[in-house]
């Protein structure tokens, strides 16, 4: 369905490359989660797949044009936008030149959002708004859906609902899914494969293999919640470590400057 061969990318069209010699084969029915640290190039890869960016070297071959995209949601994305769920979906149906008006009802039903069709998008919870984005992506029965961090800003219960929906779409409706993930637990639980990007290079492995790699590197089992405090991936751990280091440095500096503990806490 999608083939990436020897892909190189740099925002300045010259070395150093953000992505180096990336190779990935996505087959029909796959659910691939792309994981990696902040700045590792996950979203860049996603934008290359979508055609928003052009590779410096290498090729991306898409066997289908029926691709949809669910962008990363943030709390201010649609704040104050006066549009109902039905208007969002119907407008997208018209953009895609799909004449069947029942298509909107079909995707609403698939995502369990029928009862919210007349609700304003700004009045929905984060989880509901994400369901609307997925419903929109389902218009026209796509072969491939690409998502950018689908659980960002969504509470734990709604996250489970979103991933159950994605799993259902993948397994029962045979829609191929590529998802950039920071939510490692959900990625491991739902994906058929994990594509890990580090230092600009990627490797594909099974969720079990990736879990054991994390075990080996960190000593924590990412699926065992009792022993692993993180729900997010190594990125979150790195961020916490960086924050702790920054706080320690600030504290040392503050002590040297005779500043008060309160100021350190503020820092």
């Amino acid at each position: 369905m999608l083939s990436i061969q020897h892909l190189y990318f740099s925002y300045h069209n010259q070395p150093p490359y953000v992505l180096k010699d990336l190779n990935l084969e996505v087959h029909s029915g796959d659910y691939i989660s792309i994981v990696g640290d902040n700045g590792s190039g996950k979203s860049t890869l996603l934008r290359l797949i979508l055609g928003f960016l052009t590779p410096v070297k290498g090729t991306i071959t898409r066997d289908t044009k029926n691709i949809r995209y669910v962008s990363q949601k943030n709390d201010f994305s649609h704040a104050g936008f006066p549009i109902t769920v039905k208007e969002i979906l119907d407008s997208y149906r018209k953009l895609l030149k799909i004449k069947d008006k029942n298509e909107v009802n079909r995707v609403l039903s698939l995502t369990n959002m029928t009862e919210f069709k007349d609700r304003l998008i700004s009045k929905l919870s984060g989880g509901q708004a994400q369901r609307v984005s997925i419903a929109r992506a389902l218009i026209g029965k796509p072969d491939l859906i690409i998502l950018d961090e689908p659980s960002t800003g969504i509470d734990r219960k709604s996250q489970e609902g979103i991933y159950a929906l994605l799993r259902d779409l993948n397994q029962k409706h045979h829609i191929t899914i590529i998802s950039v993930e920071h939510n490692l637990e959900m990625a491991l639980a739902n994906s058929t494969n994990i594509y890990h990007i580090a230092n600009g290079q990627g490797h594909l492995c099974s969720p079990e293999q990736y879990a054991s790699e994390i075990m080996h590197n960190t000593g924590h089992n990412p699926i065992d919640h009792e022993n692993c405090s993180c729900f997010t991936d190594v990125t979150a751990q790195n961020q916490n470590q960086n924050q702790a280091q920054a706080q320690a440095q600030a504290q040392a500096q503050a002590q040297a400057d005779d500043t008060t503990i309160e100021e350190v806490r503020h820092v």
Binding site: L50, S71, S77, P82, I83, T84, S91, Y92, K94
Partner: protein
């Protein structure tokens, strides 16, 4: 009052303004770029002065120059992607600089002052034909691009994935903005033109309805402001631009007050 030709002309133009400005304004407000309307209305002054200098219809001059400025804003977005305010400063410097230089040169073949505040006396048949043509073409284009514009405002990346030519449509939208500015300058004036673009939409947004209803309410508020503004301008013998602008603000205040009263009543009912 309607026995005067100039009042008939003024009301015809007012209807065109009330129809087109909110249709453009709603997309500008939702893209958080309503200040572009303000910049373009000021930029039109350069087009007016160029029109007066070359002895061509100032509305046509304003349309061409403002469309160029709109296209320039889109072009500069590539170089200053996170600094829209800076782009607007550049465009304002270019256009106001041109206008002041030409006005102060004393070479204009007519008085440009009437375009600052608007006037109901100066709309002639040639203006009405230009305004009618621009309005019809713009409304038709908006109708054809409705879903694309809506999605570019709502989720630009999803629009791109759906095959919408976002860059091309942004340039077309810049031309539509120029058309809205050009048809409004004679009645509303350059200085407060953005009131007709943003304020009716601001009032309609307070109603918290869907997109189509918000758009229709914006047109309704715009029409109300224009009619009250023109009546006020006629009976009080003041410039229509200022009075239309004040009426728009007053309508917004009324909507806000009614909304707050309804909220208080709802809270009282809920507490019982």
């Amino acid at each position: 009052m309607f026995s005067y030709d100039f009042m008939q002309n003024a009301f015809f133009v007012a209807i065109c303004i009330s129809l087109l400005c909110p249709c453009i304004g709603i997309f500008m407000v939702l893209r958080r770029s309503s200040m572009i309307g303000d910049t373009m209305s000021h930029a039109s002054l350069a087009g007016i002065t160029l029109g007066l200098l070359t002895n061509t219809n100032p509305i046509v001059g304003a349309f061409i120059f403002t469309a160029i400025c709109g296209a320039l804003i889109e072009f500069l977005r590539k170089y200053f992607s996170h600094h829209l305010d800076l782009i607007l400063t550049i465009i304002l410097s270019l256009s106001i600089g041109t206008a002041i230089t030409l006005i102060s040169s004393g070479k204009l073949k007519a008085n440009a002052n009437v375009f600052f505040f608007g006037s109901i006396l100066t709309v002639n048949t040639a203006d009405m034909i230009s305004i009618a043509m621009l309005t019809i073409l713009s409304v038709l284009t908006l109708y054809l691009l409705y879903n694309s514009l809506l999605y570019i405002a709502y989720d630009e990346e999803a629009a791109r994935v759906a095959g919408v030519k976002v860059d091309l449509i942004n340039y077309i939208f810049a031309i539509l903005m120029a058309a809205a500015v050009s048809i409004s300058i004679k009645i509303v004036g350059v200085l407060v033109l953005s009131a007709m673009i943003a304020l009716p939409v601001a009032s309609a947004l307070q109603l918290e309805k869907g997109f189509r209803t918000t758009l229709l309410c914006s047109i309704g508020f715009s029409l109300l402001a224009m009619i009250i503004g023109l009546f006020g301008s006629y009976y009080l013998n003041v410039a229509p631009g200022g009075f239309v602008s004040l009426t728009s603000v007053f309508i917004l205040l009324v909507v806000l007050v009614i909304k707050n009263i309804k909220t208080v009543i709802r809270r009282l009912q809920f507490s019982k």
